[in-house]
């Protein structure tokens, strides 16, 4: 793919994103939909249900602990996959 057509395609993608930006909320607006539904409950109840003052740690480890467990298995799988791709037995001998 030559460079001129790649430039045209990426400018078209940028213009599409700029067009959809007109409906987004303003920056640091307290009433945007991202901060309204479940996140005030996490902030208000985190010290009374678990005595942890850090809201980020309590959401990561307690309220959404299932996602953290599978993310740990993702990094473990990446380590195993790099080992499997790069280590080859020499002289064609298979390890026993």
């Amino acid at each position: 793919m030559n460079k001129v057509s790649a430039l045209i395609i990426s400018v078209i993608v940028g213009l599409l994103l700029v067009y959809s930006e007109s409906e987004f909320p303003k920056w640091s607006d307290p009433n945007q939909p991202a901060s309204l539904h479940v996140s005030p409950r996490y902030i208000e109840k985190t010290v009374e249900e678990t005595k942890v003052p850090n809201a980020v740690t309590s959401v990561l480890a307690d309220y959404r602990g299932y996602d953290t467990m599978f993310e740990t298995s993702v990094i473990f799988t990446a380590g195993v996959a790099v080992m499997m791709l790069l280590r080859r037995p020499k002289n064609g001998k298979r390890p026993q």
Partner: protein, 163 residues
């Protein structure tokens, strides 16, 4: 394959920094409840200390302090700690990953049991992240040929390396 870096400034700087980096990573993990931090951040800093040792000295030095087999055991030990912390509440008629039921084993109230459960799983996350990052680095740097590097060193000698 990985030659010795005979630079005295890098060696002296690494000698001063590495113990402080390891203690700092444990500090960042332990204060995850009160200040920004936690398991991922502490694990990355600890892996960075082993990588700095491999860059400033020889690759042999880093593998002498954290052996290959022990690294692989650490990699799966972290995931095991996480899953075990989640499965023990199932034995006491609770949900999976419901740390309130640990209060029957630890003899505290359910709110403090959630506090301690979070500390356990962050420990598992730290161990896995550190082992996986060191393992990926060692594999990419030597292109998979770990054992041949060390057999070459034994045959050719140490090249007069200063300690």
């Amino acid at each position: 394959m990985v030659r010795d870096l005979n630079d005295i400034i890098v060696r002296t700087g690494a000698r001063i920094l590495i113990p402080f980096m390891q203690i700092y990573s444990l500090y960042v993990y332990a204060h995850g409840h009160i200040s920004p931090g936690g398991g991922f951040q502490g694990g990355c800093i600890m892996a960075a200390s082993f990588i700095l040792l491999a860059v400033a000295y020889n690759l042999h030095e880093s593998k002498r302090r954290l052996k290959e087999k022990r690294n692989a055991i650490f990699c799966s030990l972290g995931v095991f700690i996480f899953a075990a912390t989640g499965l023990v509440p199932v034995l006491f008629a609770g949900n999976f990953l419901d740390y309130g039921k640990w209060s029957k084993v630890l003899f505290t109230d359910p709110i403090m049991a959630r506090y301690y459960g979070m500390a356990f799983i962050e420990l598992g996350v730290q161990i896995t992240v550190m082992a996986a990052m060191v393992s990926i680095f060692l594999d990419l740097v030597t292109a998979g040929k770990h054992e041949e590097v060390f057999e070459e060193e034994k045959i050719n000698g140490d090249n007069g390396r200063q300690v």
